[in-house]
């Protein structure tokens, strides 16, 4: 436990160090550089912790299957562009299995779906934003599970948050430095997509939370998964 905290602290000390160091080298592009550092270095400690923690084989496979469902969802709903269950699956995972599994499923979906849709400098940002959407949902699990309205609001928030982060990425990468007018223009241009994200998130959350949650409960009870203290049957 103690070691875990030390590594966390190390990582958090690393973020500013690397960011500042890089900014000295890449003067004009320091916004892009720092944002990349923040995205990568947020994902790293969580992945590191996941890597170190003992996970049962079935737990690991459940995470893998949830990630796959979320990746495959990008294909299954291909006939409705913009309608993707990624956020819903990530949030449901977080609500039922915890913040870290939520983060893993979110960020891994970004990484892995880009194997099919194309990797690029945006990958870390997608990992970061979907990961955070999952992680945050895990921290807010109790109220979100209790109130449908809050869950819907969270869906809207997730759609807007994702859109804002990706617009920020575009601002940094398609222009010099940070220009507020460019950012606002991008946000305005992406508004229909943002609305679509938000609406589809709400629809998916409303439609999937009940059934998928039940299924997760079922396997959790039947096979005793995701019990922190238990290592074996």
């Amino acid at each position: 436990m103690k070691r875990r905290w030390i590594t966390f602290l190390l990582f958090f000390a690393m973020i500013p160090a690397v960011a500042v160091g890089g900014a000295l080298v890449f003067r004009e592009r320091h916004y892009a550089w720092i944002s990349l550092c923040v995205a990568v270095l947020t994902c790293l400690p969580i992945l590191y912790d996941f890597e170190r923690r003992e996970t049962g084989s079935a737990d690991l496979m459940v995470l893998s299957v949830l990630t796959s469902l979320s990746v495959a969802g990008r294909f299954l709903f291909a006939w409705l562009p913009g309608f993707k269950p990624v956020t819903a699956i990530t949030v449901i995972t977080a609500l039922w299995l915890g913040a870290e599994p939520g983060f893993i499923v979110g960020s891994m979906t970004a990484l892995l779906s880009n194997f099919y849709f194309g990797q690029g400098p945006w990958t870390p940002f997608q990992m970061f934003s979907w990961g955070l959407i999952g992680g945050l949902a895990g921290l807010l699990a109790r109220p979100l599970r209790k109130h449908k309205l809050l869950l819907c609001l969270y869906g809207v928030f997730a759609g807007v948050f994702y859109s804002l982060i990706m617009d920020l990425w575009s601002t940094f990468w398609m222009g010099e430095g940070f220009s507020l007018s460019r950012y606002l223009t991008l946000i305005a241009a992406a508004l229909p997509t943002t609305i679509e994200y938000a609406v589809s998130n709400v629809i998916f959350l409303l439609a999937l939370t009940g059934p998928v949650g039940d299924k997760l409960d079922r396997i959790r009870v039947k096979y005793g998964l995701f019990r922190e203290s238990e290592s074996d049957n």
């Binding site: 990349l36 084989s57 299957v65 990630t67 495959a72 398609m174 007018s181 439609a207 997760l216």
Partner: protein, 293 residues
Amino acid sequence: MVVRPRRHPLVPLTILLSVLLIAMFAQTPALTAAAFIGAALYLATAGRTALTWRGILGYLILWLLVAVTNPLFSTGGATPIVFVNGRPYTKEALLYGIHLGGMLISVLLWFRCETFLVSDENRFFLFGRIAPKTALLISSVLRFVPLLRRRADAMRAAQTAVGVYDDPDWLHRTKSTMTTWSALTTWSLEHAIDAGAAMKARGYGLPGRTTYRTCHFTMTDAACIIGILALDAIVITALVAGDLDISYYPSIVTSPVNGRAIAGIIAYAALALTPFFEFLKEEIRWSFYRLKM
């Protein structure tokens, strides 16, 4: 087909990361040009399969878009070409936009090169070393995704035949897709349990996991990596010293050309062109080998 490179996968990876990071953040047209030429040459030869006319057109449009829109937001330049809504559309901003677009395209091209530089197997070998659990997760997701798509088709067929997809309106269709999705989720979770049992049955979770793949890190590999890092150091020295600086506003000013700058550009060009020359070397070696037979 499996290509077993003679070099340890760390070598191409170091090249890739060096070129990419500098291409992403350095602000020098010469470096951007070197990155672009290196990637373009490599893709045009070794990675022909990745290039389609549509893809190339897409890159060009993106480039154009970034170049043309930049002056709309930056008005810092001193030489207006035209006025848009009373704001100057300047030459400097346009040139900067061209540079920026070129940089973005180079980075994207280098991401495409990655597929050919580091083979799947080697990527997972490296990954499996650093993060075995995440690597296993990725490996099993890559298996599940095609499987799920196949299962989804089968389930959709089964649901269609029991009349779930009967109504044509989109609301009903969405609902039906959700139904299929729900069935798919149940199936996948049960499947995950079985797969988990199969993993456990084959000893997953025992201490001291090893890997099948071995890549011997030879002295040559070490020398290669030291060489790459030395080239990196030359470029970074030039960058830190400001020898490669260029400022676009109010008008374009480049730092005076000096030895460090030239060394930096040459070093970076060497890095960016290495994959292409390596490929060329292999081709020539193979042609001679064939001639001798």
